[in-house]
Symmetry: C2
Subunit: 242 residues, 2 copies
DNA sequence: TTCGATCTTTGATCTAAATCAAATTGGATG
DNA sequence: CATCCAATTTGATTTAGATCAAAGATCGAA
């Protein structure tokens, strides 16, 4: 199962300014140091099962995890993608209604429930930050409802790639042609955007054919024409309005 | 536009124990009385537009409102349904990314932003209640992602009806055969579950044909066989497990 | 370095739901 | 009460994406 990893000091943590601890001062970081443990998961490993009692809450430090729901006959739908700084677990919630799985190797910064919840209760900016993170997830879920309910296969694939561009750290450097790592297999992408892996593959091939994107290995994408990609999402009209 | 309505005293409010004010004491209710206004909207009227600056936050007192997103070419997807006690507006958010529309005649209990946010900051149980309401919406959004991404037309329609049963007040009395009011047109239902209105109509006719449900007028449904309806949702296996 | 497993691509065919097209119904309005 | 308009039902046809199928590519392990 999960192995322990060398703990990084909060002050040197890569997600320091985006995670739940974003607005903590030095004293508060010291408190967190005392209740935190690092845990690592290998790609493919289960992090949490649906219905399982949450023994910890956690921030994703590195890697990518998926949230997914499964119907009895095996159809599955991803309902979220956790990237570094995203949070697992909610105040007052003892369990979750989806499975959490490591898509790549993942390192979590885990907090023991009891002391963490005590800190949340006593530190308004921490509970405010949790609220912000929850509302961001709600916005993302609603954008995805539009994608799942109304977008075409092409629009779904384009929207997924654009989301990766927007959320990945690579766009900080922003060197063209933009290269980004694709943390999911075709099948996982399909489960995220409500398609089959064959359709995902076909749409990726079409976008490559049209020189909107390029790829040679399975784990990376190059964005050749971001404007064309954006148009292909269906979100904005030709003028880029909306 | 919205007309004002006679204000009901908080202590006699029908949503008193489920809304954001659920855990307020008498003093706190007095504070709320001072900052609240009732506003009514006719069926079909816009309550809020996407991007509009939120001048108030509000609880739904009566009626049903829809949250929806629209693509440039007119395809629309409902991303939420607001029933009595549901809340509009979030701490720290000045605008919303979807349209809010009255599906039936709607009465809102509106709070001025500034004093309400002050109260949220000073009253932990109110901000906790807001967090609970947001997390409930997040759970609902994720259930809907599974529906939109993976369910068949039949499963979608059955799930929608079952959700109405679960959330409507009628199930308090629970007299069989269960009758419930359908606050949406076929077209609105279609926009909620990612189908066309023709497909919704066909699936409703099929469920009627199979004597799972019955209906004569457009605005009501009778549940003849709740067990069959539940199986038709695809959520649970034949034993009702899950 | 080869083997085997998994992932990916691409082609052929099928199908669930969309689209197109009329009736028909029902509720609101004068 | 008659009229009208929007909502609904039902049928015929089309189509986007699923499913079925098979051939490559990639990668880790022996």
């Amino acid at each position: 199962m999960a192995s322990s990893t060398l703990k990084v000091k909060c002050s040197e943590c890569p997600i320091r300014h985006r995670a739940v601890c974003a607005r903590c001062d030095d004293d508060e970081l010291d408190m967190l140091e005392g209740m935190k443990t690092y845990r690592s998961f290998r790609a493919g490993e289960a992090i949490l099962w649906r219905g399982e009692n949450l023994l910890f809450v956690a921030s994703v430090v590195s890697g990518v995890a998926t949230l997914s729901k499964t119907l009895e006959d095996g159809r599955t739908q991803m309902v979220g993608l956790l990237l570094p700084s995203d949070f697992i677990g909610r105040p007052g919630r003892k369990e979750i209604d989806f499975d959490v799985t490591a898509a790549t190797d993942v390192t979590l910064c885990c907090f023991q429930r009891a002391p963490f919840e005590k800190m949340v209760d006593e530190t308004p900016h921490v509970s405010q930050r949790l609220m912000e993170l929850a509302l961001d997830e709600l916005d993302a879920a609603r954008d995805w409802m539009l994608l799942l309910g109304r977008k075409t296969a092409r629009e779904k694939v384009a929207t997924f790639i654009e989301m990766l561009v927007r959320r990945s750290d690579t766009n900080v450097t922003f060197s063209f042609p933009l290269t980004l790592s694709l943390p999911l297999t075709r099948n996982q992408v399909a489960n995220y955007i409500g398609l089959t892996f064959e359709t995902v593959s076909r749409q990726l091939s079409a976008l490559k054919q049209e020189q909107v994107i390029d790829f040679n290995d399975r784990r990376h994408l190059e964005i050749l024409d971001l404007a064309a990609l954006t148009i292909a999402t269906g979100d904005k009209d030709a003028d880029g309005f909306m």
